[in-house]
């Protein structure tokens, strides 16, 4: 399918063509009948100038609008975006008009990243604490053992 740039150019050219076809020389001569009768050749050359001047001005204007709005680049990139979306049949998301709602989805990927970071460090901390707990339990056993040893020695002495 023709891209937006091509459609834009074609549509404007068609507009011009049709406008000039409507404002034909016959029409022009008819409106300026008195002058046409007096000077048909001059009328023709004035009409030709009118046509070329109008066409040039309009073409120039279109080019200005294209340059000002950076239209060609925008049209081409929009063609690409539309092409990429050609498989989506469903109507796509559109701003809801409620900023709080619309900004939420933008935050989600980062919140998910933050969540997995939290899960990671929590897991690490839990593992670390498990090891610590084991050493604390071992330490408690060791202390109980020492207390028993001391108790036994003390009893022996007593």
């Amino acid at each position: 399918a023709p891209g937006r740039v091509q459609i834009f150019t074609t549509v404007v050219d068609t507009f011009l063509e049709k406008l000039m076809a409507a404002g034909s020389y016959q029409k022009f001569a008819k409106c300026y009948r008195s002058f046409y009768k007096l000077q048909p050749e001059i009328t023709r050359s004035i009409y030709d100038q009118f046509v070329s001047q109008l066409q040039d001005s309009i073409k120039e204007e279109i080019q200005d609008v294209k340059d000002e709005g950076n239209l060609e680049e925008l049209f081409n990139s929009l063609d690409k975006i539309v092409e990429e979306a050609k498989d989506c049949k469903e109507p796509a998301w559109r701003p809801s008009g409620i900023p709080e709602e619309d900004v939420r989805s933008s935050l989600v990927p980062y919140l998910l990243k933050h969540r997995s970071y939290l899960q990671k460090i929590l897991k690490e901390k839990e593992e670390e604490n498990k090891k610590l707990a084991q050493s604390v339990l071992a330490g408690r056993d060791r202390i109980a053992e020492l207390q028993q040893l001391i108790q036994a020695r003390k009893l022996a002495w007593q």
Binding site: P95, P99, D102, V103, S106, L107, Y110, H114
Partner: protein, 32 residues
């Protein structure tokens, strides 16, 4: 009306990124 439309559309395009910058900074600070 036209200016409002353009202004709103520009905010819709740019502000989520701006807000994100602050949210990410807050998260990083929290992580630190």
């Amino acid at each position: 009306l036209d200016e409002l439309i353009v202004e709103t559309a520009i905010r819709r395009k740019q502000w989520p990124r701006k807000i994100l910058t602050h949210v990410i900074q807050a998260m990083k600070a929290e992580q630190e």
